[in-house]
Amino acid sequence: MALRTPLYDEHIALGAKMFEFSGWEMPLWYGTITQEHMAVRSSAGIFDVSHMGKILAEGEEGMERLDWLFTRSLTGSRKGRALYSFLLDDSGHIIDDLIATRVSEHGFLIVCNAAKREAVLHWLSANVGGASVTDMTVGLACLAVQGPSSGEIVSGITDLDIYEMKRFKATKTRMRIVDTEREDAGEEMHWASGIEAETEPKGAEALISRTGYTGEDGFEIIMNARTARELWKRILDTGGQRIRPCGLGARDTLRLEMCYLLSGHDFDGGQTPLEAGEDKAIDWNHDFRGKEALLRQRQEEYPRLVAFISVGSGVPREGYEIFSLEKERIGRITSGTLSPVLKKGVGMGYVGEEYSSPGTTLYYGIGGRRIEAVVVEKPFLKR
């Protein structure tokens, strides 16, 4: 039986097409993927991403070992900073990509992919003796408000000056949900009190960060599961015509236009961050598990995750094969779709370094089909 987020009834009421994703019953779309995609690019969209794994690692002891597991130093970051990084195994292969937010002097909230929650929990628990590792996933909900209008919508329901908030920063605050006269809605997120903003003490506790997975300005709001429905409705009411509920279908096309990785697809246990082209999420001055393997790989040639655009009207699909100009098989597509903005088929896949320069002609297809494509600089959408 699939898990349901606290917003399940809202999704049903909005007529969402539901599907199972990593053990959760999630909205795939409400209207159409294209409408939802374009709403986020031009105005705003709200996503229920409560399925994401939410893990709290706390305690002075064990912090060094925790730090060693991530490709960037968590303890080197300031309170309120949200860091994108990887967990690697000893051969440098990606276990998962995640965002770790420093919520207190010795506490980090780690948001990982839903399908990797157990694996990440196990990896952390087994390796950071001394620190406590707690799965907070079910007790917390997460909403993503994304798009150029997201700032004005979110600022309508909190006293926090969200325009002052920088990208990849997080603050604990309170959101003015429907019943603003109500007494404080809980004091449960004490684990994040290290980054609490001084605001009106009424409303629902929330951890807001200026992060997202769409390439647009936006906010991710983590709150107690029981206040999530009120907040979801309040954001939709406040946003009115400017905001649209969006499903995971649009979340996928939005992230792919930006070449953001999708766990289980663009990496599935056999690729390193170098191969995935994520060098920026590696801090070479920091010692981390898997670093030696990456240092060795840097001396060699290795496959690259390339981004390519169809020349004609074809649409690349995950699982299709990639061929060279000479029609030799050189790789496999890991993500593909029709880009709603570019109106072209776009895809990613791992190929040898010699095929990875922008401008390289590739072919892709399945069976006897061969569709021409050209390698481009990432991301597909230049911001």
Binding site: G15, A16, E20, S22, T32, G249, H265, R317
Partner: protein, 153 residues
């Protein structure tokens, strides 16, 4: 259609039971790969079902065979691309392609692939086939049988 392999991020998809109230007209014949067939004398009009278009979601591109071509039952003869998936379409019966729905592919006018979503049993038809072997029609399933097929999927 081989399969409705839609957006299946790690772990398959489950259709929400209460929302699969797809239209299945009684006067048509079906195949369990989600095509419908409307028979007028020796002509069979072919399209994809309401259930199929819903599962495929926004159709963005349609590939149709040339008129005049002969197709064998089971042959891959057309394809429908949506934002999330491509589905090959197999000929439900053998015969000669008598007519194709040019509105979908738009020869002179802009293509209107969305007709498949808007009106799958009407203006979203794909092709007309001149029936060569009427005995093949006996293998098609009724609306009632097709409803059972989609309830189980």
């Amino acid at each position: 259609m081989t399969s409705l392999n839609l957006f299946i991020p790690s772990g398959g998809f489950a259709t929400q039971g209460i929302f699969t109230l797809s239209e299945v007209p009684d006067d048509l014949k079906y195949v369990d790969t989600h095509e419908w067939i409307r028979i007028k004398d020796n002509i069979a009009v072919i399209g994809i079902t309401d259930f199929a278009q819903e599962e495929l979601h926004e159709v963005v591109y349609v590939e149709l065979p040339e008129a005049g071509r002969s197709v064998e039952k089971g042959e891959e003869f057309a394809a429908v691309e949506s934002v999330k998936a491509r589905s090959e379409i197999y000929a439900p019966i053998s015969g000669k392609i008598a007519k194709v729905n040019v509105e979908l592919v738009g020869n002179d006018e802009p293509a209107k692939p969305e007709l498949i979503n808007e009106d799958p049993y009407g203006s979203g038809w794909l092709v007309e086939i001149e029936i060569t072997d009427p005995s093949e029609l006996e293998e098609l399933i009724s609306a009632e049988q097709y409803r059972k097929t989609i309830e189980q999927s």
